[in-house]
Symmetry: C2
Subunit: 431 residues, 2 copies
C-alpha cells in the first residue's frame, strides 16, 4: 500500500516528484484494476498533467497526492453515476464541497471509485484485493479496494450505515468516519440527511489522520503515540453474538495488546437505550431515504437495484410520528452516550461481524456500525489483524462527539500495540 503520510513527507523534502507518485498509482492500476474493478472512472492522463504543473501544489497540505473519490460525490471533470445506470454519464455542474476542499488542499482527483448503487446494499463490480473471491464490503467498495491494492494513497467515502468502517475492515485499510458534519456533504447524493457522513480511507491510521487533517484544515494529524496512553472501554455491544469467533478473538487480542502497552482498558456494557437506538436507525434511514430518493423511486423504480427498491417499497409506510419517535430515541441515546463513562476516551468494538464474506453478492452486515453512525461519533477502523486465511479482521475505535483527534490518537495507539504484540498478524497489511 501507499502511505499518504510518507509520500507527503518525501514530496515536502523534495525527495520525490509528484509525478512519480502518480506514476506509482498508474503502475498499480495497470497491475490490479482489471481484476479488482475499484474505479468507475479514471483519468491518469489528467492526473499526470496536473502532477507536472504542481510546484505550488506540492507546497499545499496534500502535496499533489492522488485521491480517489467515491462515485456518489459530484465532480465537474468526471461523470458521476451514483453506481446506477439511471445516471450513466451524468456530468454535475459543480464539484461537491469536499472535492473543492481536496483541490484547495492540493490533492489531485485521479478517478471516481465504485460505489454500490445509491450507496445501499446491492453489490457493485469491485472485488477484495486481499482475495478477489471475497466482497470488499460496501458501499464505499471502490475506495477501500483502491487503497488496499495500492492504486491510490487516499480515497473518499461516505457512511450512512457502515459504508466506511466495514469496507475498510474487509480490505485491511484504515477508515475514518469523522463526527457528523465535520466534513461537508453538499454535492454528495443524499440518502439520509441525519446519517450521511463523509470520510476517507488510507493505508494506516496515521495516513488517514494526515488526509483528514490536510483536507479539513483541522488539527487531526497523529503521527506518534501520545505520551499518555488512552483510556479504552472494550464494548461488546448487543450485537456481540453476531460476531464470528475470529472477530471476538481479534477484538479481545487488541484490548490485551493495548493494555500491555499501558492503556487503561476496562469493559463497558451499554444501557438498554442503545438497543432501541439500533431500531431507531432503521426507521430514520428508511423515512429519509423515501424522501431523498423520491425522484429515483417515482421515475425509475424498475431500474433501482432490488435491495434498495425493497427498502423504499416498505419505507413509504413509515409515519412522521414513528420517525419523530425514532429521532427522540436517537437524541436520548446521544445524551446517554455523552454522559456515559466520562473517564473513558474511546470504545473498542468490532468493525464488522466477520472478515469479508466469500462471494460478491453479500456485502456483509453493518450491524456493528449503524449505532455509531446514528450517534454521530468519530469511528476508525484499525487494520492489522487477520484470520487464519489471512483475511483482515478490523477492530473499531469509537470516540466522543467532536473529539476526533482523541479518537485518532487512540486508534494509532491500538494499531501500534497490535503491531508490537504480534508482528506476524501484520503480514497481510504489509504484503
Amino acid at each position: 500500500m501507499l502511505s499518504a503520510l510518507d509520500l507527503a513527507r518525501r514530496i515536502e523534502r523534495g525527495e520525490l516528484p509528484v509525478a512519480a507518485v502518480v506514476g506509482a498509482c498508474a503502475d498499480a492500476i495497470a497491475a490490479c484494476e482489471a481484476e479488482i474493478g475499484a474505479f468507475a472512472a479514471l483519468d491518469l492522463a489528467g492526473a499526470e498533467r496536473q502532477a507536472k504543473i504542481s510546484a505550488q501544489t506540492a507546497a499545499l497540505p496534500l502535496r499533489g497526492l492522488p485521491v480517489g473519490v467515491k462515485d456518489i460525490i459530484d465532480t465537474i471533470d468526471f461523470a458521476t453515476s451514483y453506481g446506477s445506470p439511471i445516471y450513466a454519464g451524468y456530468r454535475p455542474a459543480s464539484d461537491a464541497s469536499i472535492v473543492s476542499m481536496i483541490r484547495r488542499a492540493g490533492g489531485i482527483v485521479i478517478g471516481k471509485t465504485v460505489t454500490t448503487p445509491f450507496a445501499y446494499l446491492d453489490p457493485g463490480k469491485t472485488r477484495n484485493p486481499r482475495n478477489p473471491a471475497h466482497t470488499p464490503g460496501g458501499s464505499s467498495s471502490g475506495s477501500a479496494a483502491a487503497v488496499a491494492a495500492g492504486m491510490v494513497p487516499i480515497a473518499l467515502g461516505t457512511q450512512t450505515g457502515g459504508s466506511i468502517i466495514r469496507p475498510a475492515a474487509f480490505c485491511g485499510v484504515a477508515g475514518f468516519k469523522p463526527s457528523f458534519r465535520l466534513l461537508p456533504t453538499a454535492g454528495i447524493k443524499c440518502f439520509s440527511w441525519s446519517l450521511d457522513t463523509a470520510g476517507m480511507f488510507a493505508a494506516s491510521v496515521a495516513d488517514v489522520a494526515f488526509a483528514a487533517a490536510a483536507i479539513s484544515g483541522r488539527d487531526l494529524l497523529v503521527e506518534e503515540v501520545a505520551a499518555v496512553p488512552p483510556r479504552i472501554a472494550l464494548t461488546r455491544t448487543q450485537q456481540w453474538s453476531d460476531a464470528s469467533d475470529a472477530m471476538r478473538t481479534a477484538v479481545e487480542a487488541a484490548a490485551r495488546a493495548a493494555a500491555a502497552k499501558g492503556a487503561e482498558v476496562r469493559e463497558l456494557e451499554l444501557p438498554a437505550i442503545f438497543d432501541e437506538a439500533s431500531q431507531a436507525f432503521a426507521t430514520i434511514q428508511s423515512y429519509e431515504g423515501w424522501r431523498a430518493y423520491a425522484f429515483e423511486y417515482d421515475h425509475h423504480r424498475d431500474r433501482l437495484p432490488l435491495r434498495l427498491r425493497d427498502l423504499l417499497d416498505k419505507a413509504a409506510a413509515i409515519t412522521p410520528d414513528a420517525y419523530d419517535a425514532a429521532r427522540r430515541v436517537a437524541k436520548r441515546a446521544r445524551q446517554t452516550l455523552n454522559q456515559l463513562a466520562t473517564d473513558i476516551d474511546v470504545l473498542l468494538t468490532p468493525s464488522a461481524a466477520t472478515a469479508a464474506p466469500k462471494g460478491l453478492d453479500f456485502l456483509g452486515s453493518p450491524s456493528f456500525n449503524r449505532l455509531w453512525t446514528l450517534m454521530g461519533v468519530p469511528c476508525i477502523n484499525v487494520p492489522g489483524l487477520a484470520d487464519a486465511d489471512g483475511m483482515p479482521l478490523g477492530v473499531q475505535i469509537v470516540g466522543r462527539f467532536a473529539r476526533d483527534r482523541t479518537a485518532l490518537a487512540a486508534a494509532l495507539f491500538v494499531e501500534q500495540a497490535i503491531a508490537a504484540e504480534n508482528p506476524r498478524l501484520l503480514a497481510a497489511r504489509d504484503s
Copy 2:
C-alpha cells in the same frame, strides 16, 4: 391573493376544476408578472396540461394546486440557475426531494421563482407587489411576491438567515420556516448546512399551514382557532432598537390584540447568551458558505455578485476553532431556549426591522431572523398589519423546536386577533 386552503376545499367538493385555478394564476401572471418579475422560469402550458389530467391529482392533498418553486431548488423540468449567470440554463438531473414531495402530494410546479443570487443579499429582479418601488425582500423574493400578487397560491422558499420570514413580511403574506430539517433540503443548493431550512409562502396562516401539512404529510393543518388560547411572550430581543417606530407599534398592537382575545401575554427578556448566538450565526454561515460555495468561488469568483463575494473573501480566514466555538455557543443557546419559560407556547417578535425599504438594492436586514434560524425553531410571519403608507408590517411567531403545529396555531390566533381588533389594517392584505 389566492387562498390555497379555500381553493383546495372547493376542488375537493367538485365546485372548482383544477384547470380553473391554473387559469386564475395565468390571468394574474398576465396582469402582474411584467411589472413584478417574480419568475425565473414559467411553464403555463405545462401546468394547463397537467391540470387537465388531474382527476387523480385532485384527490391528493394538494389537489392539483399550482406551486412556485424558488430557483435554488432543483427541478427536472425547469432550468435551475440559483439566481446566477454561472448556472444560466442549467438543467439538474433530478428533482429536489421537496419537489418530489410536492408532486407526490398532487401539486403542479408552475414555475421557478426568482431567488437572489445564491440566496444571499445581492438583489434579484423582483419588485414588491404592494408597491413596485420597494424591495420584496430576499432571498426568496419571487416566491413572496408571486403569492402576494395572486400569481400562485403556494410558493416554496428557503431561509439561511431571514429569507422566508423577511420577504413574507415585506410582501404581506404568510411565511413559514419550519423546525430545522422538518422538510428535506436534498437537491437544494447549499449555503450553510447548519442553517438552510426549506419552507413556504401562502396568503394567510391557515393557507401556509395547509400547504405544509399537504407537502409533509404531517398534522400541521390549523383552520380554526384552538379552544385554549396560546401563551405568548412578547420578546423585544436585543435588536429592538433597530426596529422602526411603526414596527414596534405593530408588534405591541399585535400583543394587545391577542390579549384582548384571551391569550396570556407577558414580556420576556432574552439572556445574554443570545447576544453571543447572534455573533455565532455570522461565523457559522461564513465558515460553511466558504466550503459550500467553494466551487463557485474558486472557478467563478469574478462572476459572483458583490456582497456574496465580499462575504466569501472574508470567510476564508475563519478558523475551525472559531467555527467550533460558534457551534458550542449555538448549542448552549438552543439548550437555554428550550429550558426558558416552559410555561410559554410561543414568542412574539418583529419579522423584520421595518416595512419593505424603498428601492430594490437593499433587501432589508435579517437581524430579527438570524437568531431563530440558528436556533432551528419554527417561525411564522403573520400578515395583517400595515404602516401609514399601506406597506405591510409583519409580526413573527417563534415556536419551540419540533412544536410546529403549536406555533402555527398561535400564529393563526394572532392573525385573527389582529383582524378582529382592527379590520381596517387588513385592507392592504385583502386588496
